[in-house]
Symmetry: D3
Subunit: 233 residues, 6 copies
């Protein structure tokens, strides 16, 4: 996974990513939950860095736990530059996993984005941190009111998706998708080609062409696309 | 159903439509789910054109199915100008029923709006198409990842509402309501009168009048409203 | 509860309020549901004024009921200036508890805000009324299509929280929290101190300080904070 | 409401009760949740005695609260013989409202049954108490782990139904229905007649008669039923 | 689809049916909802006969509708002997689709079973009818309190499954599965073979054999199974 | 944790366990989901052995995965005698985690019980295996149709509870509770004493004693209990 392939992926919509993965039999790749905290911010791509929570237990989720070797603080310090952190918060809607300070530290460390099926807290502060966040909403209470942090870089689930540390994450206004490591090159190159084809179809529709025969294309449409495609390479 | 009655309905809020229908014993007329993709875009009115999906089955929901005689593409080509397409997607949150290309074609055919209890895909592209959409959110995956299209202009359900092809749809920032064909004239004319009355009440409240005796009105308030009403006709 | 303590609370985020209450063993103080209808509008504080609905019953929830001694209209006229009205609508998503006229009357009576686990109707009109509202969305149908109003200033539940008339409500972009009357002073003063500490931590993070040892602080960080704190009093 | 009318109601299924209430425009009369803890135990009828819970708040839901004047214990001592206690537990699935001891005391006081949208605890002990219970399941934790008791004989909601102290409750294997006081006589007498008619229809079906024309009846079927009916009075 | 293949399928568990369909890429074949009203009643197989409901609309779901050409009564008279009726009730939990009389008529017509994602009413009467039923529970209210019947032998959805009239249904204590017509022979014959293999594995486990190497089998286990299998044909 | 303390715990209801843990500030100890597959089977106690699933991913959840070093088969062979296996299946209702063969092997290895927030498959076969199971229902499809197994003896969540390998599990007809290792002795001894006290209260209620003053006890009741208690030691 080079930066070059990431650069290609940045021009492939998450919608197209899911279509490319469907060609390989992967249907469970979109996280039904995380949405951009600030829509319209474009597309981000990076390797996954996983975080895992289990439910709160009152003897464990204490202020003391924040100084423990296994803590969200320690996890953040382990994050390499450019990763997209993905936190499995089991979809809990009432305990904000991170607030302004942790987000500011992640931003400082050049983490690309944070994705979670849980929620954030202190919305104003999180926005101030400028960390790009995909989440399921906001809540005032802290993570310890509903969650116990148990580790990082383990396999996790996030709203119907399985994620492993070596996977690649793409996020945009449609949400967050995961690409298994072995399929990243395929998705990038086929996806870019697919985007080109769809841009041609969109132009045809603007001209008034009917959908049947165009999308999917019949032989005539294939030929017209091929001609147009040739003029571009 | 003339354009004239639609013109009246365009000034009646969906809130008032539900109140008028309640007078006729109809409680199930608001779809609990579809929201405007772009709030603040005003009110639209049109006859319903129904679309129906059932869950995906892997032997049927294939790319080949997109070229079949019963396909979303074929359905779109059947839509008359001015209709509001209503798609029963069973509230599935993880399969975008339409993306930019299908929306662009609907816009080209002068479809007034698209309403669904499901979700859209490729949000940026859908916004570019400029088709007004009321839906339950967005998702990256295509319809075939969760849904099978089975036909158009059949009776459908949409988040608690029954819809039939001859019904009339009104959408605004409160969501989407359905008016049975036989009640369209009643709702338009009574509704317009009701809007006038509420505008007078709002003015009274602005002047500091208390609610009891005003809303609903006692005899004194009725008389004052009648006097004001007379000055307007 | 003086205005002075409310003035302090207006500078304490709801996130911090929940952390202070957790120190006193209170975990159930944030309402999982109400969100600001207009985000970015700042923080409001006031004593709770409770409203209670039960489900609709067709022989009771009638237009006549709106003129009854126990009605939402009567309740509004009982609201003292500065209160935050909190309505237990059992989270019903399909019946708007209040529309433009009732909100306008509340605004006229200087009610500080309306909080509900239910929804509003006539969004455009509610925004026109300028009453600050925290709710779970909007719906076109009126309250009587789904709810029966049964009284005010009783104990209520609101999305996982118990509320009693003497409690204090704080709302901001993270939602709504309730402070038991006996803990208001503690939360205000400890909370203000906590905000100061977090602002110092945020500054340290901006300088590039690592989280472990800083948040929570080790002895060195405590000393540095104390020094900084002294320069400010 | 005499015992005589209750005696008639004991032979009317809850299914028929809902059909009779529908004739009077009442659709919201069945509680979607409470099921018999011991199915097959027959039908019970009695006036409602309401109990109300709100969510737990840690400063209020304490062991001390069990000795307070407003407590479940005090409520039970107020229950007249023959009532059906209905507890609004807001459908909370994880806090058992009553266990063996409170049920045993209710049984001792000749309470007819307990109905709740919540759950019981200590299933074995509750069964030993022999109190007939309609509930939504069982949980080990006590009510104070999730609920605060706030009073009795107030209006309540129970899974979509409004209940008032003067209402009448009927429970059988289909669940629990509420009859508004003013409609009890109508439901009992019309309901008994309806049961007779349905028993005749069932017999016709056993003989092989087709449904169209029989149920609902055409003129011929009406005449045959009238003849049969006459032989019975 | 001969009776012979149905006879084979009656010995194949629904669990095994899903495993065979997974081999053909079909994952969506089990209905998440319908459970046997009387567990322990064995396995039934038959062609699907579909029924479709949409939500109630008060101007349509009336007693008069029961005599209409499109009615549940008319649909029942169209059911061929041996079919398994599958009703799409959109999972509505509060309106019983059929009661004792309709079930009795279906039984009289030798319908094999009724499957629905909805609920039944008049549990006692339905049990008396002796019609085998797979459903999601019971409710007292009639279908017209929540549903409008719109037709039969159309494509339907049932709790995550698509069903078409030519499909085959298998029901047992694990619930209900659908087999696409084209795969019935494959599922029956491969499934029967798979049952035989699993019965041998179960015996091996009873003898104390470890799972790894046995299930799935390594070469040694394959050889031992082949030897055992040969002794049986 | 000796067998002696387990022997005491076997006489303490899960209801009482939650009450004892509440005294120590632990509210999140009951799993809201697992129910006994065969009610009335008594109480079981054992150390937790955790299993963890994440959602399915089609490139990973394959038949080949069943032979992998990290597989449910391998996990079962690691289970010590007497443990209670607890599987975090994220509450997925449509993929049976284990069927007859895996349950039979667990039974053979003297595993005490299986607890899961997920579901089983092949109900008849599981009952034949005689392994005591607490689960959330049954489904026909195999685990690979919805889940990927990722490991054992890790921290897990199970319907609102955190579980760690050293915890102790108690299951009975009220469901499943977890006792943190450090509190096992306290819960066992205090719990046994509490059961004795409740049995005395139950006897008093049977004699007709009122609840206020008895439960919780006033001074008089305390004295009477002490006297009775003394006669028993």
């Amino acid at each position: 996974m080079s930066e070059a392939v990431f650069e290609i992926l940045r021009k492939v919509t998450t919608a197209t990513v899911t279509t490319m993965l469907l060609k390989k039999g992967i249907r469970r790749c979109w996280m039904s939950g995380p949405k951009p905290l600030v829509p319209g911010g474009g597309r981000l791509v990076g390797p996954a860095f996983t975080l895992r929570f289990v439910p709160v237990r009152e003897d464990l989720a204490t202020p003391e736990s924040w100084s423990a070797p296994i803590s969200t603080r320690a996890a953040i310090e382990e994050m390499p530059e450019g990763v997209i952190a993905v936190a499995d918060a089991m979809g809990v809607p009432s305990a904000g996993i991170f607030g302004d300070i942790l987000c500011a530290r992640m931003k400082k460390r050049n983490v690309a984005a944070l994705v979670t099926d849980g929620v954030m807290r202190d919305l104003t502060g999180v926005l101030t941190s400028a960390l790009p966040v995909w989440c399921a909403g906001v809540a005032a209470p802290a993570s310890v009111s509903g969650l116990t942090f148990v580790g990082w870089q383990q396999p996790i689930g996030c709203r119907g998706c399985a994620l492993f540390p070596a996977d690649v994450i793409v996020v945009d206004d449609d949400g967050a998708v995961v690409i298994p490591q072995a399929l990243v090159d395929f998705v990038a190159h086929e996806g870019a080609e697919h985007e080109l084809y769809e841009s041609w179809v969109f132009g045809e529709v603007e001209k008034g062409v009917k959908l049947p025969g165009l999308y999917p294309p019949n032989d005539d449409a294939k030929a017209r696309y091929a001609a147009w495609r040739n003029t571009r390479s």
